[in-house]
């Protein structure tokens, strides 16, 4: 049953080639990719990058569609004349970089060996229908081996805490309140690694659709971003620091710096509650015996505590919360605003 539901997650496979003329070209796809998406993927695949940096694996999200791009060199390959590099582009509904990196790698080997997309298509179809694909090397690719939960936990929250310490709680608050976070790092790999671990801070939602790890400053992509209530967006372009209308929290990774925008300062005021959470995170992350997943679990327990406070409040006052109810409880002002906005984010507010 699990295999069947997962099968439907894969949406398309495509092929981009860079030839000796220096052109990057969509040469093949199955079943189809819209023109808008084709343009976007061409931008994402490193072949069009003028700096010529080669990223073997890139992933990202556009309008709830995940794309995974595996790139390989094809220099002096008898099967591929005039082609210097090529990228296999997989699009899917689910977030699972490891799965699609492995599958993309298998497809790459196939294409390199045969020089024709037909073999690739065969592999793609067998994964669709049977959830398995024979690799060119020994062994085979099995969809079952790649659990979504594993993918969620693949990022290291401990690294985040070790870099930002107590300031991690700002990221926690922003995520809890469904605010807009923008992360900047000039190196794409660092960006992908960092951003994917952030949604674990709000494990109770298990919502990875807020993650847009690789966004260009492009109208089409920014429009898609603006539709979302809250998001984590990664940018390699340093120009993003000037676009304050796009973020509530700005993370400058190379400088280890977190900036809260003027608009969000009120809602993001910190109090004792935040201090508690922050200390909890730091303690958990500093423990060398605790794994990343255990840290995530500890934090999730604390989050659940906070949420249960809210639910109990809601039950006292009918089914939904109002600001007046919160006021009656006489929380410290920072806690009050946090709870109020959290209630809104969790849809527990009476309207």
């Amino acid at each position: 049953m699990a295999a069947e539901t997962e099968v439907q997650l894969m949406m398309s496979v495509g092929l981009i080639e860079k030839d000796t003329n220096g052109d990057s070209l969509w040469v093949w796809c199955y079943p189809s990719v819209s023109a808008e998406l084709r343009e976007l993927l061409l931008r994402k695949c490193c072949l069009t990058d003028e700096k010529g940096a080669l990223h073997t694996f890139v992933f990202g999200q556009f309008r709830r569609l995940w794309y995974y791009i595996t790139t390989a060199e094809a220099q002096d390959q008898a099967t591929l004349k005039k082609v210097t590099h090529f990228s296999i582009v997989l699009t899917a509904k689910d977030f699972n970089p490891e799965k699609y990196a492995a599958f993309g790698h298998v497809l790459c080997r196939m294409y390199l060996k045969h020089g024709s997309p037909v073999k690739m298509l065969e592999g793609y179809i067998t994964v669709l229908t049977k959830g398995i694909c024979q690799s060119e090397e020994n062994g085979s690719f099995l969809v079952k081996d790649y659990d979504a939960r594993k993918a969620y936990l693949a990022g290291s929250i401990k690294d985040v805490v070790s870099q930002f310490g107590m300031e991690t709680v700002i990221l926690y608050t922003a995520l809890m309140l469904k605010r807009r976070i923008i992360v900047h790092h000039p190196r794409l790999e660092a960006l992908l690694e960092f951003t994917r671990s952030l949604p674990t801070l709000v494990w109770h939602r298990k919502d990875w659709s807020i993650l847009h790890p690789y966004v260009h400053l492009n109208d089409c992509e920014l429009d898609a971003l603006k539709v979302c209530t809250g998001y984590i967006a990664g940018f390699t372009d340093p120009e993003i620091g000037n676009r304050s209308e796009l973020y509530d929290v700005y993370v400058n990774l190379p400088e280890s710096e977190i900036i809260v925008s003027q608009f969000a300062k009120d809602a993001m005021a910190m109090g004792k509650l935040h201090k508690d959470v922050g200390q909890l995170i730091i303690q958990a992350a500093a423990d060398p015996d605790r794994s990343d997943s255990q840290v995530v679990k500890d934090l999730a327990v604390k989050t659940r505590e906070i949420l249960s406070t809210l639910t109990s409040l809601a039950e006292c006052a009918g089914s939904k919360i109002t600001l007046e109810h919160l006021r009656q409880r006489r929380f410290p002002p920072a806690t009050e605003t946090f709870l109020y906005h959290l209630a809104a984010a969790e849809q527990m507010l009476e309207i």
């Binding site: 030839d19 000796t20 003329n21 052109d23 070209l25 040469v27 093949w28 199955y30 709830r64 005039k82 024709s116 997309p117 037909v118 298509l121 065969e122 179809i125 067998t126 229908t129 469904k178 539709v227 979302c228 209530t229 304050s244 209308e245 003027q262 608009f263 300062k265 600001l323 109020y340 906005h341 809104a344 984010a345 849809q347 507010l349 309207i351």
Partner: protein, 612 residues
Amino acid sequence: MRRYKAVEGGSSHPLQVGEEVQSVKQFSSELIVEAVVRCLRVIEPSLANGLSHILPPGMSARFRLGMSLAQACQDVGYKGEIGYQTFLYSNEPEIRALLMFLVEKLPRESSESSDQPAGKSVLLQRSIAFKIKSQLAVPWIPPSCRVPFLCKHQNSDLAHGFHAQHLSIPQTTVLSGKKIPKEVKEYCEKHLLPVTAQPSQHAFLCASLLERNLADISAVQEWESEWNSQGLASRLSIDEYKSRKRQRLQKRLHDQLRHAVQQNQENQHTARSSSDLADLLKSFGAGPCGHEILVKGTRFTHTEKFTFTQESEKMVQQMQAAADSLPSSKQSEKEVQARQEEEVTGLQQQIEDIAVKIEEVSLDIKKLTVSVMQVSDEIHQKELENEEKSGSVQVKSKTVELLPDAENNLGKLQVLVDNSAKRIVNLASQWEKHRAPLIKEHRQLKELCGNKELESSRKVSEIKGLHEKIRQSADEAKKKEELYKQLVTEYENLPKDVSRSAYTQRILEIVGNIKKQKEEITKILSDTKDLQKEINNLTGKLDRTFAVTDELDAKRDESVRKAYKYLAALHEVNALDSENIQTPLLNLEKILNDYKAIRQENSVLAAKIRDA
């Protein structure tokens, strides 16, 4: 030297003597000829009329010029030895004598006007210069003290500031090739004022026309230079290039505006966060653009602005009322004070009320924005859920349909899936047969295209080079044209009746002369060699003698000492003489070279004659 300069300075083109020329000895042939010709022009214009003051490059022409110059000098009355060699192979004493003679001959009172035929333009320029000089000499006098004569020059009414206005001139269409719309044509024909009537004051007309003309010319020049530098390199047609430039400009404007608006908004936000009321009020008042941008502000800013304006209006009304009542009332001070206090407390009460209201409203706004966020998020989520569910419902309904005969249908589906997979792979391989060649062709064409691009860029640079060359050639052609015209006029001025045979005769004569001269020269050369030998002998002897004399004891006798002194002086003079001997030798070399040149020219001429 200064003397010569002074004399030559009087003529229209002063003689240019370089800094390095310190004495007559250093005069070159060119300089000598120029000096003599200029002097002759002043002394006897009729004689010097046909003489150029520039030494021509051809040897025979030089020779001719030298001859005629010598003749002219003799005509003026110079009695000394003179010939072409005086000018071409100069020798200091001769030149000095000649120049001294010429300077003596120069007219005492320099009467320039009679010396040179004055053209119209010269006359005009002179009269202008004279007028300006005389007007400058007159001191400025305040308007009230001016006599009628001065009013004419010092009246500021006559002078206008350079004030240009825009002139409406119909665009000529010959160049652009576009048709004028009918309406525009009609407007130009019936309604447009003539250019002379367009400026608001007639005095602006001249300036406006000048300005307009200059603007047009510079626009054309600018466009040309831009097109040649950037336009050609972009490899677009003129229209395309212009439209692209327009787009670029528009985009830049757009960016700038966006940036400015954004900054303004940020400024407002920072102002809003500060709780000081006065600051807030100031921020509303500050900057004329602030209000315009506020139209785009949030509801919060709107309500705030609204309450504040209301409040201020009320204040103004109350102030007015108080002011009205003041002069009319004659109540005691106490009453006035009491009333004022009353008013103050009333106003304070009002302010407090309003502040409370503002707080309430802002709280409401806060609540509303939060709820809006929640609702929009909810809607978003629900929509997504809906989409997912409708998809799964479809699948499930199909499954339910197939449920009754599950075993069978499962098998059927499996077969269907397998078949479809096979079919798709089959189709893909077929598609590949078409796709691969097409991609290949595309790449080939692209490569070709790239090559062509390379070629074309090469050609563009070539074209640029050609453009440059064309411009240079045009310039050159212009210069040549001028030269040609000058030569034609010169040619027309020349006497026409000189026949070819006369020339050939003369050339033959010259050749004969030169032959004789050559013989003489060889003779002189051998003589000179002999002389040189003798001189060497004598110098040797002299040196030896001097050495012997030197050894003698000179102090013993007075007469001997004197004799020794004279001998030493004689020795010095000798040394000087030997230096002087060097010059004729140099001249001799020059003469030999010139002789060779003449021979060459003659052979060329002889060949020409033979051809003819």
